[in-house]
């Protein structure tokens, strides 16, 4: 019988009030900068319609293209962070872009996490040939380059933000499957699971009540680390021409569209979206690191 590490809290033994207390305690210990950044971005994304000065997809009336930020020669406070190749306001695009980046990041991670965790649980718990098939598919999937996928999907369904989310989910689920499967394999051998099985609980019930909740910790940690990766991947997909379709503002798309201007000196077109991406990814990574240490010592070495 394996010994259970001392600081593991078996979910089936937690009470409701205990959980709430744990959350509050956790919130106070979280890395401040990360929380502030993420919180700020979420607020901006939610209130975009109120705070953005212009429609991000339409050129600003009367503004030229490539207007620099207001503190530079030729800049104007009407378009404080400057304008792009189409004459659209950068600030508005950044604000609305927060929405896209957050949605793509979170939803993409959710899709990847959901798919990967689901398959990982099936693979680990049911075992046998189901496990073998899923593992072989995982291996094959890893060898498949993401771009082939992305173009294939874009060909089938057309480019849109939601399709990007699906694409990214399909690219990153393998990370979860492997790790979750490992977790489930060890969970299977635990007393409380074995007890439930002996007591006659159906496979589905065991998964729902015992496996899944315990696996969620690992999944959450993985998710927090994946969000940043997914957001960067959105930029990569834009570079390849299969990202979020213009004129929708997305930071990765803004960065990719403005590539030539790097050589022409219109630095604001790339530095601002790049900085935003940096902020959100840094924040999620720091947050994820902290979560990892707190939630599950077993994943410390991820």
């Amino acid at each position: 019988m394996a010994t259970i590490p001392a600081n593991t809290r078996l979910v089936s033994q937690r009470t409701a009030s205990g959980r709430l207390g744990a959350v509050v305690k956790a919130a106070r210990e979280a890395p401040l900068m990360a929380v502030v950044i993420l919180g700020g971005l979420i607020v901006v994304a939610l209130l975009a319609d109120l705070i953005a000065p212009y429609d991000p997809t339409v050129p600003v009336k009367g503004a030229e293209m490539f207007v620099p930020p207001f503190w530079m020669d030729g800049g104007s406070l009407a378009t404080p962070l400057g304008t792009d190749f189409q004459g659209r306001d950068i600030l508005s695009r950044l604000i609305y872009g927060a929405r896209v980046s957050l949605i793509v990041g979170l939803m993409g991670t959710l899709v990847a996490g959901g798919l990967g965790t689901g398959l990982g649980i099936l693979s680990g718990y049911i075992g046998g040939w189901v496990d073998q098939i899923i593992m072989r598919v995982t291996d094959a999937w890893l060898a498949l380059p993401a771009i082939v996928f992305a173009i294939f999907l874009a060909a089938m369904v057309g480019p849109s933000m939601w399709n990007i989310i699906v694409i990214l989910g399909l690219v990153y689920w393998t990370r979860y499957a492997r790790v979750i499967r490992g977790e489930v394999l060890s969970l299977r051998e635990r007393d409380f699971v074995k007890l439930a099985e002996i007591a006659g609980a159906s496979k589905l019930r065991v998964i729902r009540k015992h496996i899944l909740p315990n696996v969620l910790n690992t999944a959450t940690v993985l998710a927090s680390l994946t969000v940043g990766v997914v957001i960067i991947a959105e930029a990569s997909l834009s570079f390849l021409g299969v990202g979020v379709p213009p004129p929708q503002p997305a930071w990765g798309l803004m960065l990719s569209e403005a590539r030539p201007t790097l050589m022409a000196g219109q630095w604001w077109l790339t530095v601002f979206p790049g900085f935003c991406i940096l902020l959100i990814v840094l924040a999620t990574q720091l947050f994820g690191d902290w979560l990892r240490v707190r939630l599950d010592p077993q994943t410390r070495n991820l």
Binding site: Q86, A155, G241, P245, R259, P260
Partner: protein
């Protein structure tokens, strides 16, 4: 990296006279001293896309205007497009003539011309190259040619089954077809078509020294060429990323750089010692798929005219190509046979709104999708903004280039509802290729989306006719019909802007880009680098 097709399509001509029936007496180009002795220096070209090995074999010319950049360095033809001559510049042939009845064409080869491996270029090679040609328009040549006669050790005659009026254009335009580009029969058969594409041997000014497929081509001046070759080493590198190409130019790693993107034109023009070469290239025009359907708002000619009045061609030109393109005019470039000149379309927002009111759209209407040629999305966005001013509201639809081409192939069912397509293309040779591809019912691009019966009927007449005067008249009528009815709305002519570095000797950019039918810098042998 997608390779933008249309700007490679070259055609750039002034007036196309009645070509085929005129026997052109060409003056023999005086023999120059063997090239190798004088050749020195190195020229590096940064090519803006991928580098397919099949482009090194003229026998399998795909009909696009891309391979000519490469095979014009390694190979040569009997007659070709060079400088201001659209197809009839005598190259390997010192003279040629087409019979008055257009049923035969006779070419006389120069003396002493050789392939890179030392073998002489013979009429037998010419015959082989023609008969073995499997590229674009091959079926046209095969169908119309009766036989090839080798008259003597320097003369070849092509005999046709019926008057072949388009022969010289098709034969001599390097970005249309290439049966006249002579390959060595013995070598070609010996190594086979695939190996030939890895190690091609031709009769052109440069011989291939090193070939890294998809990466670079290194060539050296061929000292057996019948013209002097100035630069000894010619290197072509594939650099798909525009920003990197510009960096190479700034760093002096590339002497000629193709396709400077719109955002960088101004800055590159200001670099010390750099000259911009804004070659007029493809034509951008608007198509209204399914406008024949009475329920489609574009069914009404007034609505189409309103679109034309709403488009700000000059602003588009200024923003997208720093003003180096040209507001049009005819949607067909003026450098192909029988293309008509047409005045620039005016812009009048008020009149556009009035026409829309008359047509029953006082508040404008919605367009489901506006689809520009990938990857020119910014043009699509500008078009949408311009249309919005008169009340026509559209959404941009983007897609990857391969998918776009596929959907065009699918015809109307791929473009349901109310849609606008912003095409961009450059086609060489004749106006009829434009019509055939982009307007005719069943055309490669147009499919079933346009189908104007009476114009198609006239086009059939045109094709059947063997009277040049009649053909010209029909051509003009058809183009007039398209433009007056706004079946297609021309926007502007794109500038394929290249940049020439300080090491290249020139007085004006046309010295390096003299051939008006192409966006590329050939003839390669004429380019000079400073010491």
């Amino acid at each position: 990296m997608q390779r933008p097709r249309f700007e490679a399509y070259s055609v750039f001509t002034l007036i196309a006279a009645a070509l085929v029936l005129v026997a052109i007496a060409s003056t023999a180009i005086p023999f120059a001293a063997p090239a190798g002795a004088a050749a020195k220096g190195k020229l590096t070209l940064a090519w803006h896309a991928g580098l397919a090995s099949r482009w090194l074999d003229p026998q399998e010319h795909d009909g696009t205007a891309t391979p000519d950049n490469f095979f014009t360095a390694i190979h040569d033809a009997l007659i070709k497009n060079q400088g201001t001559q659209l197809y009839d510049h005598p190259a390997l042939a010192e003279k040629f003539s087409v019979a008055n009845d257009a049923k035969s064409a006779t070419f006389t080869l120069r003396r002493g011309i050789k392939f890179h491996n030392g073998d002489p270029v013979t009429p037998q090679d010419v015959k082989f190259s023609y008969e073995n040609y499997r590229g674009a328009k091959a079926d046209v040549f095969k169908k119309k040619t009766d036989r090839i006669e080798i008259v003597d050790d320097r003369t070849v005659r092509f005999v046709f089954k019926e008057p072949f009026l388009d022969f010289a254009i098709l034969f001599g335009t390097a970005n249309v077809a290439a049966p006249g580009w002579v390959v060595p029969e013995k070598y070609y058969k010996q190594v086979g078509p695939d190996a030939f594409k890895q190690k091609p041997i031709g009769a052109g000014p440069y011989k291939l020294v090193r070939h890294e497929p998809g990466v670079r081509l290194e060539m050296e001046a061929f000292d057996g060429y019948y013209r002097p070759v100035n630069v000894k080493q010619l290197v072509m590198i594939s650099v798909p990323e525009a920003a990197t190409r510009v960096a190479m130019l700034e760093r002096g790693e590339a002497d000629i750089v193709y396709n400077v993107p719109g955002e960088l034109i101004t800055k590159v023009g200001k670099l010390p010692g750099v000259t911009l070469a804004p070659v007029l290239s493809g034509s951008f025009f608007i198509e209204f798929p399914g406008f024949q359907d009475p329920k489609n708002p574009f069914h009404d000619k007034r609505v189409r005219e309103a679109v034309s009045l709403a488009v700000d061609r000059r602003a588009m030109n200024q923003a997208e190509t720093a003003g180096m393109g040209k507001a049009t005019g005819n949607w067909i470039n003026n450098d192909v046979q029988y293309a008509i000149e047409w005045p620039e379309f005016p812009r009048n927002v008020d009149k556009a709104k009035q026409l829309l009111r008359e047509a029953g759209y006082p508040n404008g209407f919605d367009v489901d999708w506006v689809t520009p040629l990938p990857t020119f999305y910014s043009r699509g966005e500008r078009l949408i903004a311009q249309l919005r001013e008169v009340g026509i509201r559209g959404r941009l639809q983007t897609m990857e280039r391969g998918i776009f081409l596929q959907r065009l192939q699918g015809g109307l069912r791929e473009f349901p509802g109310t849609q606008i397509i912003l095409h961009g293309v450059r086609i060489a040779g004749s106006w009829s290729f434009w019509y055939e591809g982009y307007f005719k019912c069943g055309g490669f691009s147009s499919r079933d989306r346009i189908c104007v019966k009476d114009l198609d009927g006239k086009f059939d007449q045109y094709e059947r006719s063997i009277n040049p005067a009649e053909r010209k008249k029909l051509a003009e009528e058809i183009q007039r019909g398209i433009l007056e009815n706004y079946y297609l709305v021309p926007v502007f002519r794109h500038a394929f802007v290249n940049a020439i570095g300080p090491r290249v000797a020139l007085q004006k950019w046309e010295d390096v880009f003299p051939t008006i039918t192409t966006g590329y810098a050939y003839p390669w042998e004429d380019i000079k680098v400073k010491d």
